[in-house]
């Protein structure tokens, strides 16, 4: 396996950029040296693709180019980039300038790609993407619905640039917003622009960013600008992808925020479980300092802003603002019970502005193109775009950026490609462990995803996790899963969260193993209401949402578990069994072959049967049956 040693260009000897105008000259010089039509292979090296071996593909592609060197007129450049978003098809690469898209690439394909596509200009059909149900594969990125239906503002450069080379980012427009701010905007004007854009925090609560900046700027004393890169929601990877794919957008956003609030010091709080994000950010800070874009006297002006990375140990609760600041101070990461905003008294008791990674990444584009441009995306109450990490039972698992107000149908079916294995969509979970489960197929499939709308129906936007669940999802098990997560992540200092969640977990566990009792649902509601109203921090006051929302929308499933001792979705093992329907079974024998426990018996072309005492309920037969003959009982 290739190691993560990507060459980070050393720019220490480059002349610092000494005025905001010089940045434009520098960019022109960089662009002059680049041929937009030159062939370039962008290998996705985001965390998802890396996990399936994209670094090996990268090395193999480089080697293949070098080996083919002599007979190619214009050698394609092989570039390492951040996440392209289409994580379920990795390792993947795009071939510029044509915009070809190759997926599930292995190092063994490298030589062929160079020979056939780079030299010969032919496509390799095997590596093309074929949408579910389609006959013909699609060759170009722009024609693939997953990409074509997205609107990229935050992710504009993610997947296009080499995150380890600031020159690539500058050529693509990084730091232009900061240059604009420094060449004539006052801090008030910056804040006004952000207020006009109606940008709301992307970290969960959706607090208006401009107003937060304004109230922080109004405080006396030294100001701190802090970026929340803790991203602890299970199944969320938006912030990781931004930090890994375009760290400069975050740094630039923070620098603009610092300018607006008169701050000279920033911190990036990133969890240590994001090693790649820590690497890209560290390289980005160093290179930006070398070029005079961050640090002392930025672009030759009086404005100085130093920033550094602090790594957290990955506690979910450390994403909460007061816990994060305690942790930054070197104290235990527990939320503080203080009725005072951190914009007034936060880190080191000084006015501190905390924003999410994605919030900061929105800022440069807003400054550059103006607040009104930003509000042209999204809805009245939720302006702009939002990045979602689309996961679960959906074809196209990955990172998706759409304007606020896009319908769930468009996200799940249009972009996500629908539900695999001809299953029915059952629910969509948004907002991570603090969010709720939105039941579908009722009227909710066409709701417009935005801060207000989601809250209205008992869920929330959260940071943008979106888990799609098909008919084989047990909602009791889902709420048990989230409560279990929160019990492990609770800091334990306040009574409701510590004791209440523990009791709820016990009760839910009992229900899923068939020991549910009369009154359990009412008790869950009682404790859930209690934890939601009496807890100390946001973790506790939203912890019961997954339970309360599933009880509200899927009460009959709880009843089935408790009264009939049945799990209708076929998930809770003690509460169901598989049976083969003799009417429709053709006796093809596939289930018999697939069964790892040898529990299926039957002669060819005759209906098969399952030995219940041998069955381990692994679902293999259920999944493999082509005739829907296996029933959950």
């Amino acid at each position: 396996m290739a190691t993560a040693t990507s060459v980070v260009p050393d720019l220490a000897w480059t002349k610092k950029i000494s005025s905001p105008h010089e940045l434009a000259d520098y960019r022109q010089a960089l662009l002059a040296g680049m041929d937009p039509d030159a062939p370039c292979i962008r290998v996705c090296c985001g965390t998802g693709c890396k996990a399936v071996g994209s670094l090996d593909v990268l090395e193999a592609m480089k080697a293949a180019v070098a080996a083919a060197g002599v007979d190619v007129k214009v050698m394609p450049e092989v570039k390492r980039t951040g996440c392209h978003g289409f994580c379920s098809r990795g390792p993947l690469l795009t071939f510029q300038p044509q915009g070809l898209f190759y997926q599930r690439v292995t190092p063994g394909d490298a030589a062929e790609i160079i020979q056939k596509t780079a030299v010969g200009g032919e496509l390799i059909p095997r590596l093309l993407y074929k949408p579910p149900g389609a006959k013909e594969p699609i060759a170009k990125v722009g024609d693939i619905p997953f990409f074509a239906k997205q609107t990229k503002v935050v992710l504009q450069r993610v997947g296009r640039i080499d995150p380890f080379d600031i020159r690539d980012a500058i050529a693509a427009g990084a730091y232009e917003g900061l240059a604009k701010v420094l060449s004539g905007m006052t801090p008030q004007q910056v804040i006004e622009e952000i207020k006009t854009s109606r940008l709301r925090g992307r970290g969960g609560a959706g607090f208006p960013t401009g107003i937060k900046w304004e109230s922080c700027a109004a405080q006396p004393g030294r100001h701190y600008v802090i970026c929340n890169g803790d991203e602890g929601d299970p199944g969320a990877f938006m912030d990781a992808s931004v930090m890994e794919g375009d760290p400069h957008a975050v740094l630039e956003g923070m620098a603009i925020a610092a300018y607006a609030m008169g701050s000279d010091r920033g911190f990036l709080y990133v969890r240590l479980e994001y090693p790649l994000a820590v690497q890209t950010l560290a390289a980005a800070i160093r290179q930006a300092e070398d070029l005079g874009l961050i640090g002392r006297n930025i672009m030759g002006t009086d404005f100085s802003f130093r920033t550094s990375i602090s790594t957290g140990a990955g506690a979910f609760v450390c994403g909460e603002s007061s816990a994060l600041m305690s942790s930054l101070e070197g104290k235990v990461g527990r939320p503080r019970a203080k009725y005072i905003r951190s914009t007034e008294k936060g880190f080191r008791d000084s006015p501190s502005n905390l924003n999410n990674v994605e919030t900061y990444a929105n800022v440069p584009a807003i400054i550059l193109r103006g607040g009104p441009w930003y509000t042209s995306y999204g809805t009245e109450r939720s302006a702009g775009t939002k990045v979602f990490s689309l996961t679960g039972n959906v074809h196209n698992v990955g990172l998706v950026e759409v304007p606020m107000g896009t319908s769930l149908r468009e996200i799940v079916y249009g972009i996500g490609g629908g539900i695999p294995n001809k299953k029915e969509l059952k629910a969509v979970q948004t907002g991570g462990p603090s969010g709720g489960c939105i039941p579908i197929p009722s009227k909710f499939l066409d709701i417009n995803v935005g801060f207000g709308k989601l809250a209205e129906i008992g869920s929330m936007m959260g940071s943008g996790g979106m888990i799609v669940m098909d008919e084989n999802t047990c909602m009791v098990e889902v709420s048990r899963y989230f409560i279990n997560f929160l019990v492990e992540e609770s800091c334990g200092q306040c009574t409701p969260c510590r004791e209440g969640l523990t009791r709820m977990k016990e009760t839910l566990t009992r229900i899923t193993v068939g020991e549910g009792r009369e009154g359990d649902i009412e008790m869950l509601e009682e404790i859930g209401t209690f934890t939601n109203s009496f807890s100390l921090c946001g973790l506790g006051t939203s912890a019961a949402n997954p339970v309360l929302s599933t009880i509200k929308y899927f009460r009959e499933e709880y009843d089935a578990h408790i009264h009939d001792k049945k799990c209708p979705a076929g998930v809770c093992k003690p509460l169901f069994y598989y049976e083969i329907d003799p009417e429709t079974c053709t006796g093809c024998g596939l289930c018999r072959k697939r069964c790892p426990a040898a529990a299926v018996e039957g002669e060819k072309k005759k209906p098969h049967t399952i030995h219940q005492e041998l069955c381990i309920k692994c679902m293999e037969c259920y999944r493999s049956c082509k005739f829907d003959s296996i029933r959950i009982k």
Binding site: A315, V332, A337, K338, Y339, V487, E488, E489, S490, C491, G492, Q493, C494, T495, P496, R498, E499, G500, T502, R503, E526, I527, T529, F530, S533, F534, S535, L536
Partner: protein, 267 residues
């Protein structure tokens, strides 16, 4: 600033917490983790009340909410009573023996046996840790996370910095911390486990063991209160009292120059 508490206007000063105002005006708000001498931590949450400031109405903890503007407070609504009941029931399962909880249970109609007991002999009010920090000891702290959170010394070892002041013993509302003076040492015992052993002084007068040996300088440093004169008694309280009495008597006789009477001489 106009503060209305449970329908009655009450006297309050700007910046006072709701609990302070309530205590001053004889309004009952239950607390488990609050003592006036310590910075509030708002951990137990039982003092949660309903607060309406302006148009917004919300739940806040009374022990640490500073009143800064006109407000209307409800301290005993059905919603609060219901949630306090659940809170007491949940806490009772981890500390079944608590007298405080029993009294509260009566008030709020809580069933102390609703949840199966798992006796941890602690209601997790954190007072011991906070008072320890306040006196500069930093011996006891809240360790671990989530359900496993507990009061303990660093790494669960005998503490080398404890001064055996026993403030934690005094403050614990469920009597889970005690101390013993044995073999010339004072042992502080938290939930049956020894937290520290501090040698006891020997009285220079009578030879009896008394109070712990305290190296005060670093303690005062940690507490950040320089200039407090260190006391370093070398005699036990009983001898000290006896010595003082003797000195007083001697001075009295000196001042009044009363000749001690001779025994047997009648006037």
């Amino acid at each position: 600033m106009k503060i209305v508490m449970d329908g009655k206007e009450v006297a309050a000063e700007r910046g006072q917490t709701i609990v302070e105002v309530a205590r001053r005006n004889g309004v009952y708000i239950p607390t488990l983790c609050h003592v006036p001498a310590l910075e509030p931590a708002a951990m137990c949450r039982i003092c949660t009340v309903e607060l309406a400031e302006g148009r917004r109405s919300r739940l806040v903890t009374a022990c640490n909410y500073p009143l800064r503007s006109d407000a209307e407070i409800h301290t005993d609504t059905p919603l609060l009573r219901q949630n306090r009941k659940v809170l007491i029931e949940l806490l009772a399962s981890r500390c079944p023996g608590s007298e405080t909880l029993r009294e509260l249970a009566e008030r709020y109609g809580a069933d102390l046996n609703r949840f199966p007991a798992e006796d941890r002999q602690c209601i997790m009010c954190g007072l011991c840790a906070r008072v320890c920090e306040r006196v500069g000891g930093n011996v006891l702290a809240l360790c671990g996370r989530g359900v496993e959170i507990r009061v303990d010394t660093s790494f669960g070892r005998l503490s080398p910095t404890c001064i055996a002041c026993t403030a934690c013993v005094q403050i614990c509302p469920v009597n889970a911390i005690r101390f013993e003076d044995v073999d010339g040492e004072r042992r502080v015992i938290v939930r049956g486990k020894e937290a520290s052993r501090v040698p006891l002084r020997r009285c220079t007068s009578c030879g009896a063991r008394f109070g712990p040996v305290i190296d005060l300088v670093p303690v005062l440093e940690r507490a950040g209160e320089s200039g407090v004169p260190p006391f370093n008694a070398s005699v036990c309280p009983a001898c000290s009292r006896r010595n003082l009495a003797r000195r007083l008597a001697e001075r009295h006789f000196e001042q009044h120059a009363v000749e001690p009477r001779d025994a047997g001489e009648e006037s």
